[in-house]
Structures are given as C-alpha cells and as structure tokens.
C-alpha cells in the first residue's frame, strides 16, 4: 500500500509556487561573504566550553570556524515569532536536538567528534566523497534537520506525516537552495553517513522498528530522491552510480514538487524574499569544504 499521488498544482498555490520557484534553484550571480549578511536579531548563539579536555579541539574548531555566527546569518531571512538560541556544548551523549520548551537548538560536541572520527582519512573507498565533504556535509545536514524541527514548532506548521521524516525533508530541501556545489557537498555528507549505518537484520525483533526515525537506508534514499527530484541534472551522477533504485527515482520529481508546495504554503510566508536572495548568493562553505 505504498504510492505517491500525482502532483497537483492548484491555482491557490500558483503564486506561492512561483515565489518559491524564484527562490528555489536560483543561480547565484554575485557571491557575497557571509559576514555581509545581517545576523537574525532573534537568534542568540553560545559556545559552551566543554568540561572534558577531549572535546577542547572540537570546541575550538567550531568557534574558529564561526559555525554559529554563520547560522545566525543563514537564518537572517526567517521572520521568527520567538527568540531562538543556538548552542554548542558537551551533552554527555552523541546527539543534536531542538527543544520546543526552551526554543533552543543544541549541537553536542560528542556528535561533532563522531562525525569527524567517522569521516574517511582522505576520500571514501569509491573516491567520490572527500573527508571535508563528509564532515561539513554531515554537520550541515544535522543542523538543517534540527532546523526543520525548529521551523515546525516556531511556525506552527501542520505536519501530517512523521516529523522526523519531515525534518529530513527540510534538510534536503534547504540544501538545494544554494549553488550546485553546496548541494552536492551536503547530499554527499548525508549519503556517506547513512550508508555507513546498518538497517535491521531480517531476524531482528519487531521492536527494532518502533523508533520514530526512519531506518538508515530509508533516510538515505529519501535524501537522494529529493536531491534528484529537485535538480536531476546535478544529481544524475548519483543515480548513475546506482545509489537510488530506478523504481523510486521515477517518482522523485513528484516528491520534490509535493515538498516544494508544502514549503511554499507553510514556511515561505515567514521568509523575507530580498534577504533570501542575498543569502542564496552568499558563499557559505570554504573552497576546501567544497572539494
């Protein structure tokens, strides 16, 4: 009983679709530095010093990279109804999470350390994913996923499907809003991470399926599908590598369009279009990270 409905494009959302289309896939003409974008005044940031020495280097790297300052500016176009705190800290667990009660998004040093540890020394076995892409792509993917939870809460977005899948969709969708190099890097980070995770064994008990998150392969295929559906030219190579079964690939344009409509309906009204255009034209990743 699985299917997707044929994409519809009712008149009521044509305007929204036109707007989002002008945002989606817009090709940057003049790259700006991210420092030139004003920080979102509703977003506060904090790097909390770790208590354990083992995370000192992660803490220092994130601070030096100014990851939260960048995020503060990446979120500039978003008209948030409530203040938001972005925090990096030692949590005692490998995790990243958005808390609706405190309206804060936390990245744990433990998770960043694991992302760094699991990245290839130089390049993945197939030679396709560099260490830099695996790390930055994965880290941005996590941030965007948690950002999805934040959007659903802050903007009171009606979420009919499973929220964890919806947050994954947000990450994929936003990843595609910048230039092709950025999109490829982030999607490579997704693929590298999820391909390493294991799905349940055939003999596994029923309870392994109980989690609210999808299985690793489900999440990987969904990210690939949205990337291919949103930009088939850029991601054709991913499909040619056999990473996504053709049966699913054939529906990806519909999946992406459905997501684009949902975004236009529920999130786009809270976005400043002029600032968004500037954000899209900004170079957010370094040349090294884009390798």
């Amino acid at each position: 009983m699985s299917r997707t409905r044929a994409t519809r494009c009712p008149p009521a959302v044509v305007l929204g679709l036109a707007l989002v289309t002008s945002v989606v896939l817009a090709t940057p003409v003049v790259a700006q530095t991210w420092e030139s974008i004003p920080a979102n005044p509703r977003v506060e940031i904090e790097y909390v010093a770790p208590t354990s020495a083992q995370f000192e280097s992660v803490y220092a790297s994130l601070k030096q990279r100014k990851i939260l300052e960048e995020l503060q500016r990446l979120l500039a176009p978003l008209r948030l109804p409530h203040p938001l705190r972005l925090v990096t800290k030692q949590c005692g667990q490998v995790n990243a999470f958005y808390s609706p009660s405190s309206r804060s998004l936390t990245i744990c040093y433990e998770l960043v350390a694991e992302i760094i540890d699991s990245a290839p020394q130089n390049v993945s076995e197939d030679g396709f994913i560099t260490r830099q892409a695996a790390i930055i792509g994965n880290l941005i993917g996590v941030l965007l996923h948690e950002g999805g939870h934040m959007l659903f809460d802050m903007l009171d977005v009606p979420v009919f499907g499973r929220e964890e899948d919806a947050a994954d969709q947000t990450a994929s969708f936003i990843a595609l809003q910048f230039n092709k190099d950025v999109a490829r890097t982030i999607v490579k980070g997704f693929v590298y991470f999820w391909a390493r995770e294991k799905d349940p064994a055939v003999s596994a008990s029923m309870s392994v399926w109980s989690d609210e998150h999808g299985m690793a392969s489900q999440r990987m295929y969904s990210a690939l599908c949205l990337a291919y559906g949103g930009d088939p030219q850029t991601f054709q190579e991913f499909i040619d590598r056999g990473w996504l079964p053709k049966k699913r690939a054939d529906h990806c344009d519909q999946e992406f369009t459905q997501l684009k409509l949902a975004f236009a309906d529920t999130v786009l009204p809270f976005i400043d279009q002029e600032l968004m255009a500037r954000v899209q034209q900004t170079q957010w990743l370094t040349a090294d990270e884009l390798k």
């Binding site: 299917r3 009171d156 009606p158 979420v159 009919f160 899948d165 029923m206 489900q218």
Partner: protein, 290 residues
Amino acid sequence: MTRFVAAARFLFAFIYIAANSPSARAQELASTATSAQVRISYETPSDEKFRPIYDALKHRQVLERLQRFLVPLRLPKVLTVELMQCGTETKPYESGGPVVICYELIQRIVDVTIQNTKDANEQTLIMDGTFVQAVLHEVAYAVFDVLQVPIWGREDDAADRVAALTMMQFSDQVALTTIVGTAKFFEYSKRAWTGGDFADLGSPEAQRFYNYLCIAYGGDPLTFQFLAPRPGPSKVARLTENRAPRCEGEYRQVQRAFDLRIMPFVDPQLLVKVKASQWLLQDEIPGGTK
C-alpha cells in the same frame, strides 16, 4: 471451506456502519442525507472469485454508508469512491480521483487473516479493522488532494496518521477494533525488508504497526494502556520505552494539523451527529478485543 466461512464471517461483521441498525442512533444516522459531493460505484468483477465480495459489499451498501460518514466534509469538488477489480491490490490515488478500493486488497485482508489465526473473534477483529483502515487511508489521500493540504513527511504515513486519528474519534470499542485489528494485520503481514526495499515510497509494515499503536496510545492512554511498555518478555507487541512517551505529542501533532487544515472544511454540527452515532453494533463487536 475455511476460507469461505471466514470470508462470510468477515462480510457479515463488515456491516457495522449502521444503516440497517436496530439502534435508534444508527437509524438516525441512516436518515442522514448522503453527501452530494461523494459519488460511489461498485464495479462488477470479471473474475468470479471476487463475486462473493462484490455481492456482499453491495448488499450491505458499504459505499452508501461511507457517503453518510463523509457528510460533514464540505468538499469543493465531487469525490468518487469506487470498489473494483484492479489487477493489483491497490490502485494509487491520482489527483482528481477516484478513490479506488480493490477487491484484491479485500481478498488479501481475508487471506492474511485466516492464514495467521484460527480464532474467530480475532479474525473478525482483523478483517473489520483493516478494511476500515484501508478505506480511511485511501480517502485521506483524496482529502489531501481536494483540500490542497500541504504534506510534510511521507504521504503514505500522513494518510495512515489521519486514518488513525479518525478511528480515535468514536467509541472506545470502535477505536479498539479498528486500531488493534489494523495493527495485527500489519504484524501478520510483516515481511523481511532488505537492500533496495528501503527505497519504497511507503513504510514497512512493522513501522506502520507502531505508527497506529502510537497514535492510539497517545490519544487515549487509558483505553490503550495495554500497549504501554513493560519490563520482561511479552507475547503481545507493545510500544517501546523510547516511543511510548512521545505518542501524546504525535497524536497532538496530527490533531493540530487536522484542526488547522481540514477542520475548516468540516460542518461542526453534522460532525457531532456522526461522532455520536453508534457505528459498531453490539452484536458485531468481536469478543476478546482487549
């Protein structure tokens, strides 16, 4: 013979949408005008093996009852619901409709049930519950389309969550029969997922199993307290300690989404009338449902 008996039992139990009910409330419901915006059709199957299903469904006026059930919904355009032989178990909904329920799917519900349990009450529970689930799931697709509902997450899961939410809006007995029957069907029809299976657009049966249970437990933790996690081995599949605490939030989330995007198209007075109706008659409630 076993199959025939089971199918006959199923089709008998199947009538619980109340048009011919002896109860006053059911008769009141039966007198409710059918929705002019919902058109129905029973297509005669070309394969004789589906003939008993076709005859029974038509005789019991199942689709006419669905028309009454959908009366509160103010649809901006006509929705057609068809029962037909499809050649496959499902016919994916496409924009504009129709909603199609395939005789092959009903046959599969019967087959999975009788292959996995000899208990007559459990057979009734699974077949009734799963049929209702299948109809609500397919209608949800059409509602998303007709009302231009934005879909975040997988659409198939969204349709499941709306179906589960709907099941929870009536009596405890209706909720228990439809939720538990549906969950047991997914438990029994669970297949091994490997490799490219995970690229499927829909969720694995085991995930759907937990999704239905979670909405039920989240919406009514007292009635569904038997799903709460307990230490030690259990013959009955329950929610896990990780998932159970999140179910109230999951229920509230889909209810909030429904309130925001679908309720504006629902007539509140007619909804009260439909919700107050006795959909499951006493002699059609399977025993041992708890």
